[in-house]
C-alpha cells in the first residue's frame, strides 16, 4: 500500500557545460512511495518553480523505460539501486523514510554536461553513423522470408538489439568505455546473415571511432552489464572481440 516518505536530495547543479558545478541540498517531503523517481523530481521541481527558483534540469521522455533518454547516477549507481530498471521505472517504494539520495549526471569525457543532470550523448549517434547499420536502400531488398534465420539466432540478435542507448554502461565503467553499447550493435548485426557482408568493416570502424571520441578501453570490469537496464550481456563484448580478430585476419566469416 502507498505511504509517504521524506528524503534529502543532494543534486548536482551546473548551469552550463563550461560552468562549474556543485551539489545542492533539497528536502523532498511527503513523497508517495507509488511515485516513480522522475515523478519525485517533478514534485521537487514544481515546488522550486513556485518559489521562483530554477528547477533541476534532467532528460526524460517516454517514462516507460524504452526511449533511453533518462538516467542519472543515484547513490553511485547509474539508474539507481534496482537491477534492470531505468530511472523512470524506478519507484520510490525502494527507498526508506529519511534516506539521503546523491543524484549526479553521467560522467565521462565523451558525454559533456549540458545542464545539471542533462548530458550530451551525441557521441552514441556518431558511433552508429560509422557502421551501426546494414546498407540496404529503401526498395532494394529481397522478400522477407527469402533468408531463413534460426529462432535461436533471431533471439540472440534481439537480446543485443534491446539496447536503448541510455549510456549507463559508459557511466558505470571506470574507463568510461562504450564497449557494451558498441558490442551490442556489432553483435546484433554480425549474428544476422543480412549483416555479414559488412561485419568486418563495421567492427573496425566502430572501434576506431570509439577511441577517437574519447571513450576508454574495456578492462573486463563488467560494471556495464551490472547496471544495464536492459540486461545486455557482456558476451556481446566477447563477440565484438571475436569479430575484431576475424576482421584483422581478413576472414570473410
Amino acid at each position: 500500500m502507498s505511504k509517504t516518505i521524506n528524503l534529502t536530495l543532494k543534486v548536482w547543479r551546473q548551469p552550463g557545460s563550461e560552468a562549474k558545478g556543485a551539489f545542492e541540498t533539497y528536502g523532498a517531503k511527503d513523497i508517495s512511495t507509488d511515485m516513480s523517481f522522475l515523478e519525485m523530481l517533478d514534485v521537487v521541481n514544481e515546488r522550486l518553480s513556485v518559489e521562483g527558483k530554477d528547477p533541476i534540469a534532467f532528460d526524460h521522455d517516454c517514462r516507460e523505460g524504452i526511449c533511453g533518454m533518462c538516467g542519472s547516477v543515484v547513490n553511485g549507481v547509474p539508474h539507481g539501486p534496482q537491477k534492470a530498471t531505468t530511472l523512470c521505472q524506478l519507484h520510490m517504494r525502494h527507498f526508506a523514510d529519511g534516506d539521503t539520495l546523491v543524484i549526479e549526471p553521467w560522467r565521462s569525457r565523451a558525454f559533456k554536461v549540458i545542464k545539471d543532470l542533462a548530458v550530451d550523448r551525441s557521441a552514441f549517434d556518431q558511433l552508429i553513423q560509422t557502421g551501426g547499420y546494414i546498407s540496404a536502400n529503401t526498395g532494394a531488398v529481397p522478400e522477407a522470408n527469402a533468408i531463413l534465420i534460426s529462432q535461436e539466432t533471431a533471439e540472440l540478435a534481439m537480446d543485443a538489439a534491446a539496447c536503448i542507448g541510455c549510456g549507463a554502461c559508459v557511466a558505470a565503467c571506470p574507463n568510461a568505455s562504450a564497449m557494451l553499447f558498441v558490442g551490442a550493435k556489432v553483435s546484433q548485426l554480425a549474428l544476422l546473415p543480412q549483416g555479414r557482408p559488412e561485419a568486418a568493416k563495421r567492427v573496425q570502424a566502430m572501434v576506431r571511432k570509439m577511441d577517437e571520441l574519447g571513450f576508454g578501453a574495456c578492462s573486463n570490469e563488467a560494471e556495464c552489464e551490472a547496471v544495464c537496464p536492459k540486461e545486455i550481456s557482456i558476451t556481446n563484448i566477447a563477440r565484438l572481440n571475436r569479430e575484431l580478430i576475424k576482421a584483422a585476419f581478413g576472414s570473410p566469416f
Partner: protein, 637 residues
C-alpha cells in the same frame, strides 16, 4: 476553399500504380539541388529522411530529443500488420484494407487505406533487410500473431519491443545517410513556426534547445512527422515531450486540421494512482489474446481477486461480444470498461480499473509459455504497481493513446499548404475514427519509406521553385513573432506552474471530451478552456532566461498551443452529431449502447480552417465515398 483529395481515377487496386506513373520525376542529377526539411524522427520522419536522402535529395532533419532514436514510436510494443498471409488463414491486401476501413468506422479515405494495405508487405521486407530481429518460428520463417480486433494472424513482432526495433531500423538507415552527408541532423531543436513564401512552405524557424538561439532553415519542401496530440489530455500514453506545436503552428499558417476530436483511448493501460502522476503506461493489447477481462459481479466487492469465485465474476467482454470476446476493437473495449466501472463494479483503490486475468492461460499453456510471450510486459507491470501478474490479475483502465485526427492531407500526403507534407500520426488520413492495433507502425513506415519519396518528387518536378534563402524577410517576421512569444512567457512571472495549467486542461478534456461525450458537457468545456487560456497568459510562471537550456520554457510554449488546440477538439466534437469509432456522443447510440453513425449527414472529413485565437474556425467538408466497402454497421457481437 474546396478540398481536393487528388485521388486518382480507375479501379482501387490500380490507383497507386497509375499515380506513380503519372507523377513527374525529378532528374537524378537535379535531386541534389533540392533541400527538404523533415521535422520529427519517429517511424515516419526517420524513414522519410533516409529514403529521400538515398534518392539524392539534401535532407535537413530536426527533432526535439537529444537523439533521433528517442522518438516515441520507440515505445510501440505489440507489432506491425502486413498482408503477407504467411499463416494461410485467409488474409489478403483486400482483407487488411477492409478491416482497416471497417475498424475506422467508415471515416477514412478508401484510396489511402487501400494503398496502405498494398504497401504493407514491402515494409516487412525492408525491415528484415535492415536487421530488425522479428520473432521467428522454429524453421526460421517469420512468426505472426493475431492482434486487437483482427481475426487473422497478420502481425509481425519483435518481443514486446516492435516499435523500438522498427525505429532503430529507420534510425540506422538515416544515420547511414548522415555519414554520407545527405542528411544533416539537428537534434534538440523545436520547430516554432512554418515559413511561407509566395503561398508555399519554404522553411521553418526552430529554437535551439541548448542555447536558446532562434534559427532559420530554408528548403524547397517541408515534411512534418511530428506525431500526435494526445498530450493535450496531460495524462496519456505519449512521451512527456510529445506535443502539437509544430502541427498547430502550421495550422495557424493555413494548413487545415482534420477530425481533431478523434482520439483513441487504449483499453489496456495501468490505472491512475495519484495526483502527482505524470503519464500513463500502456500494456500491449496483445495481452488480450490470452488474458480474460472481468470485474466482480457484486458492486464494491473488495475481496482480493483470487478469493472471488468463478460464479461471481463478470467476464463482460466475453458475455457481451461472444464472437470477438476479449479481442473487440479498442474503442469498444474501452467504453465497456468505463461502463462497468460507472456501474460500480470497478476494482482497485479508485474503483477505476478492471482485471485482466492470466490464470486460465497459465493453467492451459504453462507458466513458461506465458512468460515467453509476455515476460517483459509482466516485468514492467510489476515495476510500476509492485504486484506479480503470474499470481494476481493485472489491473487495467483505458487511457488516451493515439490521435487519429491530424493535419488534413491529400492522396500525396500534402496539406492544404503547397509544399507542406504531413506523415504518420501527425496527419489524419488512414485510421478514420478508430485505429486498429498494429496499424500505426505500418502507416508511419508506409508514409516515410514508400509514399513520400514519390510524391515529393512529383511536387518538385511539377513546378519551378525560385531560390529562397534564410535571409528572406518572411524568416525575419517569423523570428520576430517567435521571439516575442518567448519574451512574453518569461515576463508574466505569475503564480501557477506550467504543469498546473496543463493538468487542468487535461482534466477538462478527459471529463468532457474523453471516452464519452454529450452536448452540454462539450459546451461547458468550451467556456472553460478560453478562461483557462486567459489565466495562463496572466498568471503562469516560467523561470530562467531565453538564452539557455530551459525545459520550463519549452513546456510553456507547448501548453500554450494545447490551450488553443483543445478548443478546436471541442468544436469538432460538437459539430459531429453522431457517434463513430472513438467519438461517442451519448445522444447517438443503438439500443445496446453501441456507437450509431449518421452516414446520411456525417460521412465526411471535418477539416477546420484557422481564423484567429478564440474565433470560430471555418469548417470544410471532404465527403467520403465508399465505392468498394459497403457502408455497414460495425458489429463485433
Amino acid at each position: 476553399m474546396k478540398l481536393d483529395a487528388k485521388v486518382p481515377g480507375g479501379p482501387l487496386a490500380e490507383k497507386w500504380d497509375k499515380h506513380r506513373f503519372e507523377l513527374k520525376l525529378v532528374n537524378p542529377a537535379n535531386k541534389k539541388k533540392y533541400e527538404i526539411i523533415v521535422v520529427g524522427t519517429g517511424l515516419a520522419g526517420g524513414s522519410a529522411s533516409a529514403s529521400l536522402a538515398e534518392l539524392g535529395y539534401n535532407v535537413k532533419t530536426f527533432c526535439i530529443q537529444d537523439s533521433p532514436r528517442r522518438a516515441h514510436s520507440i515505445a510501440a510494443q505489440g507489432g506491425i500488420n502486413a498482408a503477407k498471409n504467411y499463416t494461410n488463414d485467409g488474409d489478403s491486401v483486400w482483407r487488411l484494407f477492409y478491416d482497416t476501413v471497417k475498424g475506422g468506422d467508415f471515416r477514412s479515405r478508401e484510396a489511402n487505406v487501400y494503398r496502405l494495405a498494398q504497401l504493407s508487405v514491402n515494409i516487412i521486407d525492408q525491415c528484415v533487410a535492415q536487421g530488425v530481429p522479428f520473432a521467428r518460428d522454429y524453421g526460421g520463417l517469420l512468426a505472426n500473431r493475431s492482434f486487437g480486433g483482427a481475426q487473422v494472424s497478420r502481425t509481425f513482432y519483435a518481443r514486446g519491443q516492435t516499435g523500438q526495433q522498427l525505429l532503430l531500423g529507420a534510425y540506422s538507415a538515416m544515420m547511414r545517410q548522415v555519414a554520407n552527408g545527405k542528411v544533416k541532423m539537428f537534434p534538440r531543436r523545436e520547430m516554432l513556426d512554418l515559413v511561407m513564401v509566395d503561398g508555399r512552405a519554404r522553411g521553418i524557424v526552430v529554437r535551439n534547445l541548448i542555447t536558446g538561439e532562434i534559427e532559420c532553415h530554408a528548403a524547397h519542401a517541408v515534411v512534418l512527422a511530428t506525431g500526435g496530440y494526445g498530450n493535450a489530455f496531460f495524462l496519456s500514453t505519449n512521451a512527456m515531450g510529445s506535443n502539437v506545436t509544430a502541427a498547430w503552428r502550421a495550422h495557424k499558417k493555413g494548413a487545415l486540421f482534420a477530425n481533431p476530436s478523434f482520439t483513441q483511448i487504449h483499453p489496456t493501460c495501468i490505472p491512475v494512482h495519484g495526483d502527482y502522476q505524470s503519464k500513463l503506461t500502456l500494456m500491449s493489447e496483445s495481452l488480450r489474446n490470452d488474458g480474460r477481462v472481468w470485474v466482480p459481479k457484486n458492486k464494491g466487492d473488495k475481496r482480493s481477486p483470487e478469493n472471488i469465485p468463478e460464479s461471481e465474476r463478470y467476464y463482460y467482454l466475453e458475455e457481451r461480444y461472444p464472437s470477438f470476446g476479449n479481442l473487440v476493437p479498442r474503442d469498444v473495449a474501452s467504453r465497456n470498461a468505463k461502463n462497468v466501472c460507472d456501474m460500480g463494479m470497478g476494482v482497485g483503490d479508485t474503483g477505476l480499473a478492471v482485471y485482466l486475468d492470466f490464470a486460465d492461460a497459465i493453467k492451459r499453456d504453462g507458466r513458461e509459455s506465458i512468460h515467453k510471450k509476455y515476460g517483459n510486459l509482466f516485468q514492467m507491470y510489476e515495476r510500476i504497481v509492485g504486484q506479480n501478474p503470474y499470481d494476481t490479475p493485472i489491473m487495467i483502465y483505458p487511457a488516451i493513446h493515439y490521435a487519429m485526427g491530424g493535419l488534413w492531407v491529400d492522396y500525396n500526403l500534402m496539406s492544404t499548404i503547397p509544399g507542406l507534407f504531413v506523415l504518420g500520426e501527425a496527419n489524419f488520413s488512414d485510421h478514420g475514427a478508430n485505429r486498429l492495433g498494429a496499424s500505426a507502425l505500418m502507416q508511419g513506415l508506409n508514409d516515410g519509406y514508400f509514399v513520400i519519396p514519390y510524391t515529393v518528387g512529383g511536387y518538385l518536378a511539377g513546378m519551378p521553385l525560385g531560390e529562397v534563402k534564410d535571409s528572406h524577410p518572411a524568416f525575419k517576421d517569423a523570428v520576430q513573432e517567435v521571439t516575442a512569444q518567448v519574451t512574453k512567457l518569461l515576463s508574466i512571472k505569475g503564480k501557477r506552474t506550467v504543469d498546473n495549467f496543463h493538468r487542468e486542461l487535461g482534466r477538462i478534456l478527459w471529463e468532457y471530451c474523453g471516452m464519452s461525450r454529450n452536448e452540454a458537457g462539450l459546451l461547458k468545456a468550451k467556456q472553460m478552456i478560453p478562461e483557462l487560456r486567459q489565466q495562463f497568459w496572466e498568471n503562469v510562471t516560467v523561470t530562467g532566461s531565453p538564452g539557455e537550456f530551459n525545459q520550463t520554457l519549452e513546456r510553456a510554449g507547448r501548453v500554450a498551443d494545447f490551450l488553443e488546440f483543445g478548443e478546436l477538439m471541442l468544436i469538432d466534437a460538437l459539430n459531429r452529431k453522431e457517434s463513430c469509432g472513438c467519438h461517442y456522443n451519448e445522444a447517438y447510440k443503438t439500443e445496446d449502447h453501441e456507437a450509431k453513425r449518421d452516414d446520411e449527414n456525417h460521412c465526411y472529413v471535418a477539416a477546420w480552417e484557422f481564423q484567429g485565437v478564440g474565433k470560430e474556425p471555418v469548417l470544410h467538408k471532404e465527403p467520403l465515398e465508399f465505392e468498394n466497402v459497403h457502408l455497414a454497421t460495425r458489429s463485433y457481437k
